[in-house]
Symmetry: none
Subunit: 117 residues, 4 copies
DNA sequence: GTGGTCTAGACCACA
DNA sequence: GTGGTCTAGACCACG
């Protein structure tokens, strides 16, 4: 995976994992790759992965079993809600950006349709 | 202005100025506020503003007259092009993010319409 | 049994067993459950239980008969003394914590009474 | 400061700072010592201090000004509430421990009075 | 100078 | 092997 500069890597890792979970590549209750595996795969330091996982643990989207690994929460309600939050966040940021560029709400849809062609 | 953490402030300042120019609050050839004024207005350090302006100078959207200040380029073609670039960039990022969240192209438009209501 | 994170499980097991002995659920001279039984009951690894028992052996509160198992010491003086030690330890930690939170000795009793209501 | 083994240092640092704030040694809005100062004073690594502060930031008890330092929140309601939480936590742990040692609620008060003499 | 992020490398607790 | 914590040292963003 490639990381953008200007955004902390651990946040990008969080985002990456969130998406893996949301699109179902990592299922509720499933063990995610070990910290060390992820570190190798993403070519970052173990600590950086840890930081991402620690926060996701705090947020309840993952849980840790000592000596076993990290697992995706089985709370599907939380997962669904998380997905909605992320989607709405993206929508919000997008609309706001377009407004800031002088594009009125009415124009956004047509620009989007044009873009998607 | 409020700044998001996790994104360098000087980038946010660049973005802010870009948008002021694009929506016409700062017109071609117009002098932009002095570094110190901006620093006060945005409650950031002068150095931080400097860094943003330097980069915008390099990008050609601003030019500096020694002892006078910074001015918006008069190259309206460049401005228009910049605007299109920024819009397309936003569109691209947005669509990509939605895809990453498991939202297919066809669904994006309806989600957007829903959101804009 | 549930274990707090941030405290080594083997210490929590020790504490658990100490308490079983002190409240008389495990009597002097009585054989305690086998390492494997405990491991299953507490849903921890056998090694972890072993470590706890080893230390309690060293402390004299348990003794091992090869091939038979672990037994609670018959030294009731030691048991009684251990109980007093643990109680005093708790009292000490508690008072110290309250002091550290700016609660003077005089206030502690009333806060406690209030809490116990 | 001396740290207990068996409890992560960064948690002990959090506790230490929480107490400094609660007893008023660090006042609302006041700047706390820099990360590096704390690291030296507590003879731990800068990163360890960072971890503690980061969490306290997330909890709202501190806030960071980039390039300036960390400051105690001015939200006195939050501070008062935090104090109550910590006290109740201590009370709860204490009573639970005593119960686990076979000491009934009624006896706790008298043991405490005895101890405080 | 002050905080934020990252790496490399080490040791511990747990299964 | 798996996660958790810590150190030493480095570089960046900001004031």
């Amino acid at each position: 995976m490639e990381f953008k500069d200007n955004v902390p890597i651990y946040l990008q890792i969080k985002q990456y994992l969130y998406r893996q979970i949301i699109i179902g590549k990592l299922k509720p209750g499933e063990k995610i790759p070990s910290v060390r595996e992820l570190a190798v795969k993403l070519t970052v330091n173990v600590n950086t992965v840890q930081r991402a996982l620690q926060q996701m643990n705090a947020e309840g989207i993952l849980y840790t079993k000592r000596g076993e690994g990290n697992f995706v929460t089985e709370d599907t309600t939380l997962l669904e809600q998380t997905k909605q939050n992320l989607i709405n966040e993206e929508l919000g940021k997008f609309v706001q950006s377009m407004n800031a560029l002088g594009v009125a709400d009415e124009q956004i849809s047509s620009l989007l349709s044009e873009y998607l062609k």
